[in-house]
């Protein structure tokens, strides 16, 4: 039976350059980092770039981690910064209907699967159209299930700001996804 190292032990091991400690750190956080990146960017390729950059930054700057915040919060900050940087650099937006077309093109799936993919694609596209500062709040809230306080800590802003951004995001999403409302969409 292998016991998981504590956060501080893991960081210390990474600082000593222990290879398996890096791998353990990667395994612990890879899904969180990739999920945030994918839900923010909307494209797997871009999400891989963000995740890769985040890990490179994480491994290269662990020595600077002073433990003033939790390691997880610090790592979320890294990925959030990478997401926002990537958006500034690429300036690209997912073309309207791309996800929809992709899901419909996959004819090997069952009808329910196609419909589910279509709905997923529509929600993701609507999220992609949000301004980056609103989108990141939505992703942290719904993908990572964070509280307002946790999001505020990651973004370095007040919880009230988080609430306000989330409210604005909901208004926009409500408009763009109004056709999904009240149709029992969760069945698919």
């Amino acid at each position: 039976m292998v016991l998981e190292r504590s956060e501080s032990e893991l960081v210390a091991a990474c600082r000593r350059g222990e290879r398996d400690a890096f791998r353990e750190l990667f395994e612990r956080y890879k899904d969180k980092i990739y999920s945030v990146a994918l839900r923010f960017a909307g494209q797997p390729g871009e999400a891989m770039d963000i995740a890769q950059d985040t890990f490179l930054k994480l491994f290269s700057s662990l020595a600077d981690f002073r433990g003033e915040s939790r390691l997880e919060t610090w790592i979320y900050r890294l990925v959030v910064n990478r997401c926002l940087d990537q958006r500034r650099r690429s300036g690209r937006w997912l073309p309207l209907g791309e996800g929809l077309g992709r899901s419909l093109a996959d004819t090997s799936d069952s009808l329910a699967g196609i419909l589910r993919k279509e709905r997923n694609g529509r929600v993701q596209e609507a999220v992609n159209r949000l301004a980056p500062d609103l989108r990141i709040v939505v992703v942290l809230r719904y993908t990572e299930g964070m509280s307002y306080d946790q999001i505020a800590e990651v973004l370095g802003c007040a919880p009230g700001t988080v609430a306000s951004r989330l409210h604005r995001a909901h208004k926009v999403l409500e408009r763009s996804l109004s056709s999904l409302g009240g149709k029992g969409g969760l069945d698919v």
Binding site: R23, F26, K30, D31, K32, I33, Y34, S35, L38, R39, P44, M48, A51, Q52, D53, F55, L56, K57, F59, S61, D64, F65, R66, E68, S69, T73, W74, R77, L78, N81, R119, N120, V123, Q124, V127, V138, V139, R141, Y142, T143, E144, L155, G156, C157, H167, H170, L173, E174, L177, L180, G181, G182, G185, L186
Partner: protein, 217 residues
């Protein structure tokens, strides 16, 4: 917020598993420092604040506070540099030569009128120059146009004295370059901050050309 939206978002934006190849990509990028760190190198100037931000010691808002003034300063510097280059590249205006070059050249008029007030107004709007023409004149005004010379515009008033076409050119005087005392054989003078030149194919008619403003000549 509607319940359905809350449910949709929670249901559709679920976490996903990272692809297997992510670890390999990270390792490859670590082994190839040149390719892995090109973004860092490109933003070397920002590396220090970026690192502080990543450490959590640099508030997110602080980045934009510095970024905008920096961008504004860079824009102003570029604009000043562009203006300096444009000024240096601007050809020196010799209104005598320009007038000589206009002699006998029939260029189309951009405003065709014999009304001196309309010509004055049009020139002010299109060249920024004030060309005060007398309300009544013994010559026959035909209209005006402007000539581009580098970044500046030169006003040209066209009129006829007898059967001869005359062009009065007006430009802003360059305080660093006084009007040449000699050069092409055309009448030229400076008054206040503007230089003037008269171009006529008939050099004997230069005195007559002055009748545009000096009826007693």
């Amino acid at each position: 917020m509607s319940d359905w939206l809350e449910l949709e978002l929670a249901h559709r934006l679920t976490p996903v598993e990272a692809p297997e190849e992510l670890w390999e990509r990270v390792q490859n990028a670590q082994r190839a420092p040149a390719s892995a760190s090109w973004r860092e190198q490109r933003r070397g100037v920002w590396a220090w604040p970026a690192q502080r931000f990543a450490n959590g010691t640099w508030p997110a808002q602080r980045r934009s506070v510095w970024a905008w003034p920096a961008a504004a300063m860079a824009a102003v510097t570029l604009a000043v540099a562009a203006w300096c280059v444009a000024s240096l590249c601007d050809p020196v205006l010799d209104i005598r030569q320009l007038a000589a070059a206009q002699t006998g050249r029939a260029a189309p008029l951009q405003i065709q009128t014999s009304d001196p007030r309309a010509i004055r107004l049009w020139l002010r709007q299109n060249t920024g120059l004030d060309v005060p023409l007398p309300p009544a004149t013994s010559v026959r005004l035909e209209g005006a146009r402007w000539l581009g010379h580098g970044s500046q515009r030169v006003a040209a008033v066209e009129y006829r004295v007898g059967g001869n076409a005359v062009t009065l050119l007006v430009a802003r005087a360059d305080p660093h370059r006084p009007l040449p005392s000699h050069g092409a054989r055309v009448a030229a003078w400076q008054a206040h901050d503007q230089v003037y030149a008269l171009a006529s194919p008939n050099s004997d008619q230069v005195d007559a050309a002055c009748q545009l403003c000096h009826a007693s000549l």
